[in-house]
Every structure is written in structure tokens, then in C-alpha cells.
Amino acid sequence: MEDLSLSDVSYSINSNSILEKISFSVGPGDWLCIAGCNGSGKSTLLRLMAGLIGPSHGCIQFGGTAFKDLPDKDKKISILSQRSNVNACLTVQDLVCLGRYPYLPSWGVRFSEADWEQVSYAIDFVGLNDLRDRSLDSLSGGERQRAFLALSLAQNGSILLLDEPTNHLDIVAQNQILNLLEKMANSGKIIVSVFHDLNHISRYSSHLALMRQGQLLEFGPTDHVFRSQSLSETFGLAIRVVEHEGQRCALY
């Protein structure tokens, strides 16, 4: 089983502790949501899991191999950050093709049949087939975000890390993105995402990690962790979890 596991992971900058002794493990098909106030270390944790920064202490492993020894990391882990952006007038297809770059030989720029198939599959999956030749500048926020999701999908990694992927989107676009992510999790990928909307967390995630001031307060299946007391403690607010037609909702 290719699990993503963190054991005693800490991260500090100039002796300033950002994350302290974080440990948990998620497996294929799991969708882990990380929740907490701004500045609680969620994005740093995601960047650590993406291998963009190294932990000060502890170890992050994927499939039993430590990250620093992991071959082809760029083919296994995708990240869609809060600031995902492209500084040029690329078409949707050009953007999604970037996801296949780790598979190209170092000197080559020509894609194989398999690369093109994966690109077409990714564009189809997010429903942008009619817009594949359109410039990104001409797309709506939701379509743009779906194009970036297709880029991650084209990369065909086992782990997808997302930092607030539904930011600034209307509820229709939010639903589209969340349903796509659910399909991706069902296909056996590990999804780790940061969300601020607690109702998204209860509706979609399988696991929940609650963070406060760089510490992991609670981790476990969402059904166990998504409780009034844990959420109130995490956010320092009176949060009540109620059940409505079989769905748990947070009121605050």
C-alpha cells in the first residue's frame, strides 16, 4: 500500500517554530482535509508534503520511502497552490501539456501518443473539451481552476495537494471542483486539501486534521473529528454541529 505518512514532523525558520511534531498517515482513495485558522501552518504543511521544503525534524514517507530518497517525485505529487497562476497567454491545452513535462526526456519537447492521451483525458475529465484552444485569459474563474486541476491530472501523480481550491469561486463552480476531486479520490488518488468552508469538509472529506498554532489538535476519520467541541477548540469560536437530512453541518 502506498501510504503518505508523516512521523514527528516539525518545521522551523530561524528557531521560530512553524509546525510541531505532526504525525498522521493517509492511504489511496482517502481525502484528507486540513482545517484551522489563518497562520496555523496549513499551507506550510502542504508544502512539506509536496516536498517543496524539507522538515527540520521528523520524516515524511510515501510508500515506505523517505521523500528525500523518492525517485521521480515530480511524477508522483501534484500541488495546486493558492497562488496557482500562469504569466502568459497560454491556451487550456498548452497549460495542461505542462503536466506532462516530467515525463519528457530532458532534451525533448515532443509528446508521445501516451502523453497526448493523458492530456485529452484530463481536459475531458474536467469538462473543458470545447474550450481547449481558448486562451486562459478568456476563461471564467471556475473554468480556470478546472484547467489547473486538469494540469494536475495530466501529471498523473498519486498524491494531489490543494490549497483552498475553491477560493473566490461561486457555489456552482465550487460544486464542480469538489465533485471532480471526489471522482479523483474514488479513482484511488490521495487528496489532501485545505478548506475554510466547514460544510465542504463534512460533505466531501474522508479524514480531517484540525490544526492550531502549528500543532495537530486532532486527526481521524471526518465522522469522528467533525464535532462541536473539536471545531470550537480549533477556531476559538462557538461552533455547533447539527445533523440535517443525514448531513452534518457546522453552525457559527
Binding site: 497567454c89 491556451t91 505542462l98 513535462y101 519528457l104 519537447v109
Partner: protein
């Protein structure tokens, strides 16, 4: 008057051609006989470059007919003057224009991609001021002309090196620091240059200003001996970076997760672009406009993908400088090529931008 009308006519034909190509390139699904439109546009540009190149060999103080040129190429030329003019004057000068233009176009495109800044140009990293100050000092010291290209090259490389050293911190190069240190170093060197210019006499000031505007007058084989190899090598290398430059269009985290090492890319592009610019400065002085605007025109033609932007920028840059030099030679007193490219290129670029804005694409 005759030449002026020719110039206007060439300008008009050129603008219609580019406009047509933009229209064609916009439709990416458009193919003719299995060839993509981008490829056909590129071949079209290459073809025009060949025509302008041939014209550049024929036009000048002593006009040479196409037949004379053909005789020279086939080695059956009987006129010694023709051979002399083509071999020793026109050919090296046109090749110098070709190398300068392609070097500036490609290094501009690379730097705009690497710095993620549409206003970046090869002269942003202190290269122009570094070589400018060295050349002005050499002119004011009344040094041998032989040292001027070498001085320009050294000044460009050293100032770019200083800018990169300032921006390098904790094993990474921040783009903001790179751009701002480029501006700061340029300001300091610009002031030193101004001091030397103010202290010089009129002839030296005129010589310096001609060089600072970019000129190809009197270029001969000797000026290309040490510069053509690095330019050709760096141009070839630059096409290897197309893939990395595409990834660098993304934000830092996403591009790194796709396997890009940003610091390595910034250093390699810095070295390649600096060498290209330094060599072009060494040949022709400071030819402005090309490095800044040509990559934008290339992007209007072929989109943002660097696999296309780099070759398009190279060919368009070469075309602009060769055509600019051709126009510069048509008048009674010869204009520096940098002035011609800026004078004719900028209004055309403004026209392209406005046209695109009216169509709602920018």
C-alpha cells in the same frame, strides 16, 4: 524622397504580412496539408528574412544588381569592385545585423520568461549601462578602437555578474531583487557614464552617442571573429531551455512540483542571455527596442508557448535589425540602426497593441 517612399512601402507590406499571420495564428485548429499554421508562419518569416538579406547585399552607395550578386555567389564575377563590396563590406555587415538581431530577440524572450515580467529586456540587468560606461571611458581616454568591442563585452558581463551576485541570497535568486538590483546598478553606472560624457569634447561625445544608439556602420569580418561562435552556441542552447521556460510561467510552487529547479534555471538563463547580449553589444553597440518589443510581437504571432516564442523571436529580431540597417543605409547621412528600429518599430507595435485591444484580446 524615392528611398523614403520605398521605406513606407516596405513598412506597409511588412505590417500587412504580420497582420495576416496574426489572424492565421489565432486559429490554432487551422492546418494546411497537415502543417500547423505556426510552422507555415515561421517558414514565411524565414523566407522574408532571406529576401531582406539579399536586398541588404544589393542596396547601398554602390548599387549591385541581382545578376552581379548571382555571379558572385556562383564564383563567376568578373568585377573586382563587386567582389570587394559584397565580400568585405556588405556581407559582414549584414551578417552582423543578423547575429545582433537574433541574439537580442532571443535573449529578450528568455529574460521576459525567466523574470516573469513583460517589461524585461536584455538591458534590464545592467548590461547596457555596464558596457556603456566602459565604452564611454574608452572613448574619452582616446583609446584604440580595437579595445572598444572588448570593453563593451567586459562591461556587460561584469555588470550582469554584479547584479546576479546582489540578487543571490541563501541559495536562491529572488526575481524582485534581481530586477531592482539591475535598476540600482544601472543608475550608478549611468551616472558615471554621464560624468565621462560631460567631460569629453564634442567629437568624442558624438562617437559615444552613435555607439550608444547602436550602429552597424563599417562592421567587417574582424568584428564577428570572436562573437559569432558564442552567439550561435547560445542560440542553440536557448532552444533547450524552452521547456523549462514554459514551466517557469507557472507560479513557483507549481513549477517546482513539476520538477523545475528555479535557481538553476535563473542562473543558466542569466548566463545565456548575458552572453548573447554582451556579444551583440560588442558587435553593434546598444540597439534598443529589439530585445524589449520583438518577443511581444512573437507572442502576438504564435501565442505564449516558448517552444515557438524563441525561434519566432530570433527570426523576427534578425529581420528587424537587417531591415533596420537596410533603411539606415538608404539616406544621405547614415542613421544608427538602433534609432531606425525604434523609430519604425515602436509605432507599428503601438498599432498592433491597439488593434488587439479593440478586438478584446488584451
Amino acid at each position: 524622397m524615392k528611398w523614403f517612399l520605398y521605406t513606407l512601402f516596405i513598412g506597409w507590406v511588412w505590417s500587412r504580412f504580420l497582420e495576416l499571420m496574426i489572424e492565421i495564428a489565432k486559429d490554432t485548429r487551422n492546418h494546411i496539408a497537415g502543417l500547423s499554421m505556426k510552422f507555415i508562419s515561421f517558414l514565411g518569416l524565414l523566407w522574408i528574412l532571406v529576401i531582406v538579406f539579399v536586398l541588404s547585399l544589393c542596396v547601398g552607395d554602390s548599387p549591385i544588381g541581382f545578376e552581379d550578386l548571382w555571379d558572385y555567389v556562383s564564383g563567376t564575377s568578373s568585377s573586382e569592385t563587386t567582389v570587394l563590396v559584397i565580400r568585405d563590406i556588405r556581407l559582414p555587415r549584414t551578417l552582423a545585423a543578423l547575429l545582433t538581431g537574433s541574439a537580442l530577440g532571443v535573449s529578450g524572450a528568455m529574460l521576459q520568461g525567466m523574470l516573469r515580467n513583460p517589461l524585461a529586456s536584455p538591458f534590464l540587468l545592467g548590461i547596457s549601462s555596464g558596457s556603456g560606461v566602459c565604452v564611454v571611458i574608452l572613448f574619452s581616454l582616446n583609446s584604440l578602437a580595437y579595445w572598444i568591442p572588448l570593453g563593451a563585452w567586459l562591461g556587460a558581463v561584469v555588470s550582469a555578474l554584479i547584479v546576479f551576485c546582489i540578487a543571490y541570497d541563501q541559495k536562491r535568486i529572488s526575481l524582485e531583487r534581481l530586477i531592482l538590483s539591475g535598476v540600482a546598478v544601472s543608475s550608478v553606472l549611468g551616472s558615471v557614464q554621464a560624468i565621462f560624457l560631460l567631460r569629453s569634447d564634442d567629437t568624442r561625445i558624438q562617437n559615444s552617442l552613435t555607439w550608444l544608439s547602436g550602429t552597424l556602420a563599417g562592421r567587417e569580418w574582424g568584428d564577428l571573429t570572436f562573437t559569432w561562435i558564442p552567439i550561435v552556441l547560445c542560440l542553440l542552447c536557448s532552444f533547450v531551455f524552452a521547456k523549462q521556460l514554459n514551466l517557469a510561467l507557472l507560479d513557483d510552487d507549481t513549477s517546482r512540483s513539476l520538477g523545475l529547479s528555479l535557481t538553476r534555471l535563473r542562473i543558466l538563463i542569466g548566463v545565456c542571455a548575458t552572453l548573447l547580449t554582451a556579444c551583440s553589444v560588442c558587435i553593434a553597440g546598444l540597439v534598443g527596442f529589439v530585445g524589449l518589443v520583438i518577443p511581444h510581437i512573437a507572442r502576438l504571432l504564435c501565442g505564449g508557448n516558448f517552444v515557438y516564442v524563441l525561434p519566432f523571436s530570433g527570426v523576427l529580431g534578425a529581420l528587424t535589425v537587417v531591415a533596420g540597417d537596410l533603411i539606415a543605409r538608404m539616406y544621405l547621412w547614415e542613421l544608427p540602426v538602433g534609432i531606425v528600429t525604434a523609430l519604425f518599430g515602436s509605432p507599428f507595435f503601438i498599432y498592433l497593441l491597439r488593434k488587439r485591444r479593440m478586438e478584446g484580446n488584451v
